[in-house]
Amino acid sequence: MEVAGESNRRPLFLAHTGRCSIIAAMAAGVGEIAQQVLQSQVAGLPHCHVPPIRSISTRRFGWVWLLTPLAWTLAWPALSLLWLNRYDHGESAFIHALYERKHVVMERKGPPQVADGSGGRLVVVGGSATLTGIDAALMEAKLRRPTVNYGVHAGLRLDYLLYRAKQELRAGDTVLFCPEYELWRYSPEVLDNFDWPYPITYDKRYLLSIGAGRFLRAVYSVPLDDYWRSASGWRRRLRGDHHHTRPIYDTSTLSPNGDLGAELPRGGIGRVGTVSLAEVRGTPSGNLVADFATWAKSKGIRLLFCFPNMASPDGPPGDAERAGFDSLTAFLRDCGFTVVDRPEDAWYPRDWFTDTQYHPDAACRRVRTESLISRLRPHLGVSADGATDDVLVAHDDPALAELESRGWRTVEVTRTTASFADWAKPYDRHLFLVAGVSEGGLPPALGQALPTATPVVAAVGTGPWSYVRTVVTSAKASLRTDLRSLTGRAVPQLSLNLRPAPPGTGRPFEILVNRRDRIPRDSPAGLAVVVIDPELGVVLDAASFPADGGPAVTRRVHRLAAPPTSP
């Protein structure tokens, strides 16, 4: 509607309306605006009046609105504690599997024999650099004292690692503390995505022990996604699937000393920056370590410290880095630690590492452990017994081939040959997984259970596990189960699958523990056997024997010589 009204002749800035909308002017014309002004005036509204919100509310509305979030705030920590879980989280499953096994290892290594620490357990505490980089079994053999690899996962951070270590340590133990460098940057402010899932799923008591302030900060930092995800965790838990959450590394490869033997994926670790350490004295991490040292001394626990194994940084340490190391060393000495090495002593070529700069391969682990042993000897009062550091001895080890490719010379010095019956003798409290055809020569415990001259897959226990006797006979026999179902006890979980081997492998059966075939390659096509320690939930040994149970090579020992040093 085109308008030639009075409002159009007024000064243009005057065109205000009560119901202001651009379209009234743009699409319809100014005349309508004038009409609206009139309507507003007629209605007695002031200029550009804003119509009120017409709502009806009860008197209680305000109070209830205020109290509702307060009630949620009070209830939220308890609800979170009860509800949150990450039963679907591979990293948490891995940590859980490690801790339940390491507890058994710590118990088995027994109470300390001598209260002054000279004969107690040597417990190496750290993150995954320790887990994957220390061979505690080798240390135990060479240092002649029970040794436990108590390395787990640096993502748990210093507070939790020391909290768990404290629960296991006893008077007379010696702690070899070997934290990753990042652990010195510990901040107690919040639990983050990395260190939260494990405690909330498996160790809620820890969360109640960290103090109300920190716990509340942690609870109020959990992303809401996690509450949604917890529903699927509960579904897993109710179905019993949470025991089958696949850990990031195979914990069935743990040694009786707690070393992880799994072959880690090689992921290319890229550049390794220089290690710079800020002053730790007075920082949260420094205080934690100082408190731990005080606690340890009060319990009669001896303290040693070594720097973690890691891939060599791109450049040598400069003055600033050196000052950081010196400062840390001085701090540790003040706390009562004996520092046994320097950072560079545990730096190795980058291609000796696998998926992170802290995870060495098996060869590097052996070299690193031998080096550490030589440094520990004087502090533990153990003589070298004529051993020299450049002549290393290794047992059957996947690292051998890798070492040879790096210039090391390996010579087989002894090999152990045993019949099935002799080989099985030490395993009198274990579980045998057997697959193949037997024509006799079986150990007594198995002889009663296994038929001869027919293909068989079986799980047979000895000692306290002798009630386990599951035998399936036929050419296509298979047995798919897990350790808890098999034993009927709350032991660490393993998935077990004995099944016919795929064509072309030259073997009738394969024995999979945690989805990995454990029968040695090039083994005779008779009877394949895997020995499991049910209490520890690990594979202890595996071998293959001729059908008559006759002798087979069960272990090789090599002498290993370091490559000549460059001039």
Binding site: L12, F13, C20, I23, P46, H47, P51, G62, V64, T68
Partner: protein, 473 residues
């Protein structure tokens, strides 16, 4: 300070309410003074995402200087009618000059350097928060003073009119006549549940829209708009719709919160948002989106240009120029120029279509929505080239499906649900006015409020929290 921050929600707002109503028990003037001081503190508060934790005194001084100069000019206009026109012209020019310097100087410089082929180092100018809003508010005041509609001249209340924190940073753009009477009445100084209750409802729903929905859509939009590759069909539409929803809930959330905050202080701010994605034409869209800006552009730009009084072609020209300048108002960049021009062209086309038979409701809505989405792509794009890539992607010139992240399925589900929501759900105002605010609704809103606080906390820790989009304008 941001509405969606802990310091605002848990400290500033309760303290401001307590002090305001406490002071109101003593005197009305004191209450207004307290509210002024609170608003200035709100403005000067450091940006939470800034690296430094410093008070923004320079911007505060600019704001105070602008208020003082405009107040003096307003008084001069009122008291010296003979020089009113000159004072008005001077005031408008001065306001526009300040706005131009802070907002457009570097844009002009960069274009000038591109034209003459010489490099000029950019000026070190930090855009003061809310400058577009408080400048427009005061231009309106000067014009109203000239027209005799802004009669009241009280400095404290004038400062409060400009700085009243619920509208200071991102609108709505208010008129002197809308707020001053509300600051003058004693009724506004009493704790009034009839205002506070809907105020809480508005604030809670607005916070939820911002924190849960807009910030939830933001990563999907950012992933596409800020990607380095040209998006394929699915990706481009996902990004465009995600931004369409992000902007809707961001601005709608802000507007609700502003109205809610005003009501807590017994001040009714004008509506700024009215279900714009239900518009049946582009003109209808502008009747519903940023209503107070549309009104300002109409009253102080379109009509002064001649409106519809100077014939058809001139009317089209006025429409186009108004929208073009409206686009430029949003920011100094060619994408905003293009966006404004685009809407100008759409309005002209709609006017040319005239009174011919309008399309049925649903196709009209769909067409309008489509046109608006295309406009938002230009609005959001980091450059004209990127806008071109996005639009090419939306018509399938970059392929049908790109490298979609695994979350794209979830994104589509959520976006579809939001699309339904914005088309059928009642607006916040309708909800508050038609549902009784009883105890159960208080539980619902209180619960929403609590979860918003949780989201704020986790977004803050994850560094994914964001200010309102309109804060940058």
């Amino acid at each position: 300070m941001l509405y969606n921050s802990f310091e605002f929600i848990l400290v500033f707002l309760p303290a401001a309410l307590l002090l305001y109503f406490g002071a109101a028990a003593v005197s009305r003037g004191l209450a207004n003074g307290v509210l002024c001081a609170a608003s200035l503190l709100f403005y000067a508060w450091p940006k939470p995402w800034g690296a430094a934790w410093e008070w923004d005194w320079r911007n505060l001084l600019l704001l105070l200087g602008s208020i003082l100069v405009n107040f003096v000019l307003g008084a001069a206009i009122r008291r010296r009618p003979g020089r009113a026109k000159a004072a008005l012209a001077f005031g408008v020019a001065l306001n526009l000059a300040v706005l131009g310097y802070y907002k457009y100087a570097n844009f002009a410089l960069s274009n000038y350097s591109a034209v003459v082929g010489r490099d000029f180092s950019p000026l070190h100018i930090v855009l003061p928060l809310g400058i577009s809003f408080f400048t427009f508010t005061q231009i309106a005041f000067l014009v109203d003073a000239h027209n005799g509609k802004a009669r009241e001249l009280d400095l404290t209340r004038y400062v409060l009119f400009v700085t009243f924190f619920p509208h200071l940073i991102a609108g709505p753009i208010v008129h002197h006549g809308q707020l001053m009477p509300q600051f003058s009445t004693d009724l506004a100084k009493r704790w009034n549940p009839a205002n506070v209750h809907p105020g809480l409802a508005f604030f809670t729903l607005g916070l939820f829209k911002k924190v849960a929905i807009a910030d939830g859509c933001a990563p999907w939009a950012t992933a596409v708009f800020d990607a380095s590759h040209a998006p394929a069909l699915e990706e481009a539409w996902r990004g465009a719709l995600a931004y369409t929803m992000q902007l809707y809930f961001d601005f709608s959330g802000y507007s609700d919160m502003a109205i809610g905050l005003g009501l807590l202080f017994n001040v009714r701010l004008p509506d700024n948002f009215d279900a714009p994605y239900r518009a049946t034409s582009v003109a209808d869209f502008w009747r519903r989106w940023h209503i107070t800006l549309s009104r300002f552009l109409r009253d102080y730009l379109y009509i002064p240009l001649g409106g519809n009084r100077l014939g058809g072609p001139r009317r089209m020209f006025n429409l186009f120029v108004t929208m073009l300048l409206g686009g430029v108002w949003h920011g100094a960049g060619w994408t905003f120029v293009l966006w404004g021009a685009y809407h100008g062209v759409l309005l002209v086309l709609q006017r040319l279509w005239g009174d011919r038979r309008p399309p049925p409701l649903l196709p009209a809505r769909a067409l309008t929505f489509l046109a608006v989405v295309v406009g938002w792509v230009v609005f959001r794009a980091t450059s004209v080239e990127r806008a071109g890539e996005m639009l090419s992607g939306m018509v399938g010139l970059n392929g049908l499906a790109g490298a979609s992240p695994s979350t794209s399925g979830n994104a589509w589900l959520v976006l579809a649900a939001l699309l339904v929501f914005v088309n059928v759900a009642p607006t916040t105002k309708q909800w508050v006015e038609t549902r009784g605010l009883n105890a159960w609704r208080a539980v619902l809103l209180g619960t929403l409020f609590f979860f918003c606080l949780l989201l704020l906390r986790t977004n803050y820790l994850a560094q994914t929290a964001s200010p309102f989009i309109y804060f940058q304008f």
